[in-house]
Homo-oligomer: 408 residues x 2
């Protein structure tokens, strides 16, 4: 049978890791803390239905919603990004520098198309998002992990690794990071933008969780400190509107945007105009502030329930992050517990699943890194389900520890 | 500034060619025969609006329409592809071999991701679709043009070029080809599938126009003759539902589909579920047969008007195809006329544009090939507009000929 391209063969391990998460999303019978989808209560169904009925008519707006769109995307939605999602957050850009994409993953893929040759190096966080690692391997990049602490990427380590590995790109999820929930401190954001400029490296600021903050003060994007165009900002409507609409966006300099338009044409021509038009109207009609407020209230309670249950029920020696927003808490169990090895037993006995910690450690980490860790999603389950199941899970881990840890 | 990847630099010429077409789509003031979008009258607005209002509710179907979808796509839409678009046309496949994609261009990109390494050869038709040529160059493939006659690709030439160039893939638009409107004869379809199997080459059967046939007998897809899985079929909803929905599909063997799922995950996670759900309902509720019939009646009259006007008003020595379906007539003017060079004058004096013939001739063709040709889209303009403007255009070309042809 016809031979596959090189890019297909090098991504096998990352694909396996990603499937640990994606397969949990489509098992309706298991209580999943593994995936990362909005809560069922979080969708503005009635508003979407009303807007759709209003929009799909044989008038100018209706035609605009069913025909091919421009490569850059529907103007009304790019204006909403500029005026509602970016300017109030400290990033003031022109709509000519905003492209609407098919969800928040497409910008990652397109930026690899623009910059990455086989063998190029990308610096990533430790731990890092498994889905993007898979894309980087698809482009035959080498991944080099950088240190993180409670304030995100450690800048001194990033600079040391720039000097050692001469990377093409640095990938960061600066706000409520996936998988840890940690946020990059304000001063480090400025320093990272400056490193990008000084060493002429692309900083890919992947910021899909920024809007859903439950506590703490809002921080200015890395891109706002970028003087040279080296930082590219990627955002998403998946967390604040609907992942099924497949809408995201990226902000880049004129020079990059011109090339990104060509890449977009060669990838899928343009982003779907039907959902762009619906989302554009959603913002234009002013539904967003109230919707966002209700999202935050919903998820804040769930985060609190999860943190409380971890503190109450998990074994002594367990550490966890306290995220100010986003979807995830990162949990570090005592060293004797291997979350990946225990996952099948947890699924069978407790009917529960989580994100095995080790899958978030890219190549370049020591063997077994993160094996006692887990990514726990709190957005997808009601408080009582979180409390009840984390109690069971905590007791399960305690029992395992009494038996001497993970059996091999 | 950061260096672009190699793939970006090699596609410049094809990008320039493609922009000749795409830019005509967004100029509202010019009468365009250049692009290829459905007629404004061809969209089922009211039905789409009603379905949307019905679907976006907090019930099982509503949730399915706003969340992340499976990588393969919404089951109801894959069933519609199987039962309505493929089985009655002679291709009987399982839904596990049908993936829904973001429009009809994404399958081309994804198959390049799956098979094409830099330097691989792809055999293409002469002339061929400029948008796909751009994608092939993005993947750093070499293009080798094959001969066509009134029955499509000349099989003996394809086989000779297989032996000479050892291609990885053969790209064909077998039904109402873009740009010529020519259809590959039934016996050649079988022969092409057999060549793919015998030489272990991928046959990419790109068939977005198949449904809109105005005359002649329906032909069985190449994929129906494929015994080895070497043929991959790509289809689109852009011509029969809405390009703004960004929906297409591809049909591939199990072995390929598994890898294509990984590629889809790394490209845009999944296709938008909102428009998949609306389109799925459109088929399920039985709207398609009547909609298709009205599309065919609309476009048949426009084709007839264009062919009649070409015969009546164009200079002696003009040749053109007579397409049994699709969007385009291919016109060959007397050698003295250069359509690319005349295009600015035509736009300025007549307020009309067309697809310059030369942009559809890939690398490997002699310099200046197709310069006396043009691709004329008939689907986008009402009959009276076609008649009136082709009269003007024909007279313009006659005058030019009297003056000795294109001035240099």
């Amino acid at each position: 049978m016809s031979e596959f391209s090189k890019r297909v063969s090098v991504m096998a391990n990352e694909v396996k890791n990603l499937k640990v998460l994606t397969e949990s999303l489509v098992s309706p019978d298991i209580i999943s803390f593994a995936g990362g989808a909005p809560a069922k209560e979080a969708y503005p169904f009635e508003i979407i239905g009303d807007i759709a009925k209003e929009v799909f008519k044989p008038d100018a707006r209706g035609f605009g919603s069913v025909v091919y769109g421009t490569t850059m995307g529907v103007v009304a939605l790019r204006e909403a990004v500029r005026d509602i999602l970016l300017k109030p957050r400290g990033l003031d850009v022109d709509i000519d520098n905003i492209m609407i994409t098919a969800g928040g993953i497409q910008p990652i893929n397109m930026l690899c198309q623009l910059f990455i040759n086989p063998g190029d190096t990308i610096l990533v966080e430790t731990p890092t998002f498994v889905h993007t690692s898979m894309i980087y391997k698809m482009f035959q990049a080498n991944l080099v992990p950088c240190e993180m602490d409670d304030d995100g990427l450690v800048i001194a380590d990033v600079e040391a690794k720039i000097k050692k590995y001469h990377p093409k790109m640095i990938y960061t999820v600066p706000t409520f990071q996936n998988p840890t929930g940690v946020t990059l401190a304000q001063d480090r954001r400025k320093q990272l933008a400056e490193l990008g400029s000084r060493y002429d490296i692309i900083i890919l600021e992947d910021d899909p969780y920024r809007e859903i903050r439950y506590s703490g003060e809002e921080l200015i994007p890395i891109k706002a400190f970028d003087q040279t165009g080296n930082t590219i900002f990627a955002g998403s409507f998946s967390k604040i509107f609907s992942p099924g609409s497949r809408l995201g966006f990226m902000v880049a300099s004129d020079e990059f945007m011109d090339k990104l338009c060509n890449i977009k044409l060669g990838t899928d021509t343009c982003t779907n105009t039907m959902t762009q038009t619906i989302a554009g109207e959603f913002f234009k009609q002013g539904h967003y502030p109230q919707h966002l407020e209700s999202l935050k209230n919903l998820y804040r309670s769930r985060r609190d329930a999860m943190v409380k249950a971890l503190d109450a029920y998990f074994p002594e020696g367990t550490k966890h992050t306290y995220p100010d927003g986003g979807y995830y808490v990162w949990v570090e169990l005592p060293k004797e517990l291997d979350t990946g090895k225990l996952a099948p037993e947890v699924a069978e006995k407790l009917n529960v699943c989580y994100g095995d910690g080790s899958i978030f450690f890219s190549e370049g980490n020591p063997e077994g890194a993160g094996s006692n860790c887990m990514r726990m999603n709190f957005s997808g389950q009601p408080e009582e389900v979180i409390t009840e199941n984390l109690k069971k899970l905590g007791n399960f881990f305690k029992e395992k520890l009494e038996q001497g840890g993970t059996s091999c």
